[in-house]
Amino acid sequence: MIMSLVSYEFLAFFAAAAILYYVVPKRFQWIMLLAVSFLFYAGGGAVYLLYPMITAVSTWFLALRIGRVDSAAQTYIQEQKPDKEQKKAYQAQIRKQKKRLMTTGILLNFGILVVLKYTDFLLGNLHVLLGPEEGAVPQISWVLPLGISYYTFQTMGYLIDVFRGRYRPEKNLFRFMLFVTYFPQMVSGPISRFDQLRKELFEEHPFDGTQFTFGLWRVLWGFFKKLVIADRIAPAVATITAAPDVYDGIYVLVGMLGYTLQLYADFSGCMDIVIGVSQCFGIRLPENFQRPFGAKNLSEFWRRWHMTLTGWFREYIFFPVSTSRFCRAVSRLAGRLGMKKVTKKLPVYIANLIVWFVTGIWHGAAWGFILWGLANGIVMMVSQELTELYRAFHRRFPQTDGSVYGAFQKVRTGLLFSGLLMFQYYPFGTVFAMLGNLLATGRLSQLFDGRFAELGLTAADFIVLAIGLLLMLLISILQETGSVRQKLAARPLVVRFAAVFLLFVTVLVAGCYGHGYNASQFIYNQF
């Protein structure tokens, strides 16, 4: 097992790593990070290190080859000065070479990911297709290295960027390995880009007290979200979502909201820890959340939720697919068939569905996740189709630009996001039935019919949750006008101390950790 970010072991590991990091000469800092990253990842066994190493070495090598082809081409053009036609033909040939190299890397590494993560899913579907009476199809259950989806995506982003000539490839294998395995982010992101992370990782970082303190504050805030909020609602949410027969009516809504809050507190808390730990090393990582519940429509929500993943999909799948020759051909065909209106939008919609299919399967090797992804994509397409209508509506009722309507939009978007999550946890095909059940039979009075008591939440749990959620909301509101930590840092010492100490004591006392609580993994570790 690789240690959890919310374990005593991780805190000790982090403390030791931080001391070593600032004790060694500055030019060895990145080597120290590489060493502790290896240690961190090897904690689960050598096999955990094997896969990322294959990915790192193969990508490093192929990217270098691409770089070499590029340099050779440049020299050729400079020295031979070919005319325009020759140059064009030459460049096409070079591009082909580079593409072959990139494709090799992508097939190899996504191949590993697909085999490790999806073999059982594919075998299971095969089993259904063949008919159960054909006898059991074996399941393989590979050892799935933690974080494989994250580091594979990050590394493939690098390879594509090098192919596109965005930046030169990294020559030093060990530096590249650090980019792949940097321990705070390897297990659950954020998915970084090489040109951004490079200067953070390999610059010398003298100890900066303010950065270090800010980092620790953020880690503490992450612990609060994870241990006080997410893990406290988790058992109740699990009970509701696992038993749709028992928990119907209003509980469909309770489960939906609970699941969303848990997911947010868990994942964004995890990111706070990751980014905070990293900040203690003087290394800035990209943000993964930007107050998503302030979004006014679903596509804006997705630009503020798990941003590095959606950004990856946008850049490396959505844009290339929608501008691809295939999409152009399809849309031309539609134009010829007289469907003038869709021609413009067809490429977007095709690419959109592909992205959301992949988003779904990225989250889990199950049909529920695929449906969930596609449902998100479809909702966005419908809302795109309705854009004209919205615009007309707003022109007719200009008062809808006010904050009340804005609040309505935010609530609507939050509910929509939550509602779609039902595809993730309800059995295949029952989502609409559950939604119908909620709308037809849901009554607030059902909250007092005894089923609530079965959830195992005590009065103390409610008080803690209520305070915790309020605090999370308050911090979000404060964030809208700038960094909360900077605001806090501007206050007198006593105020700073009181705020941080109170938060610390709350985590210490009201956190769900240690004996008596089931240590629960971060939800987003499983990818």
Binding site: S322, T323, V348, M380
Partner: protein, 76 residues
């Protein structure tokens, strides 16, 4: 320039394209709109923009778009 403005107004009429220099950052042009824009530019202006050029810097203002289009035309 006028053709480009026409395309833009067709995609999202609610923006002041002549002055706004944060079209992508302000989410006036989201990824859906960007792709439609790129498709239209290709069909109407006959300039094909490769997907790796779809980055905020190239689409934040009409000026930037014109620069991009000019550069791509030159490369042809």
């Amino acid at each position: 320039m006028d053709e480009l403005l026409e395309i833009l107004n067709d995609i999202n009429p609610d923006a002041d394209y002549e002055t706004n220099e944060h079209l992508v950052d302000d989410e006036i042009l989201t990824s859906f709109e960007l792709v439609m824009l790129v498709t239209q530019i290709r069909d109407v202006l006959d300039v094909s923009i490769p997907s790796e050029a779809i980055i905020p810097e190239n689409f934040n203002s009409v000026k930037a778009m014109m620069r991009l289009i000019g550069r791509l035309k030159e490369d042809e």
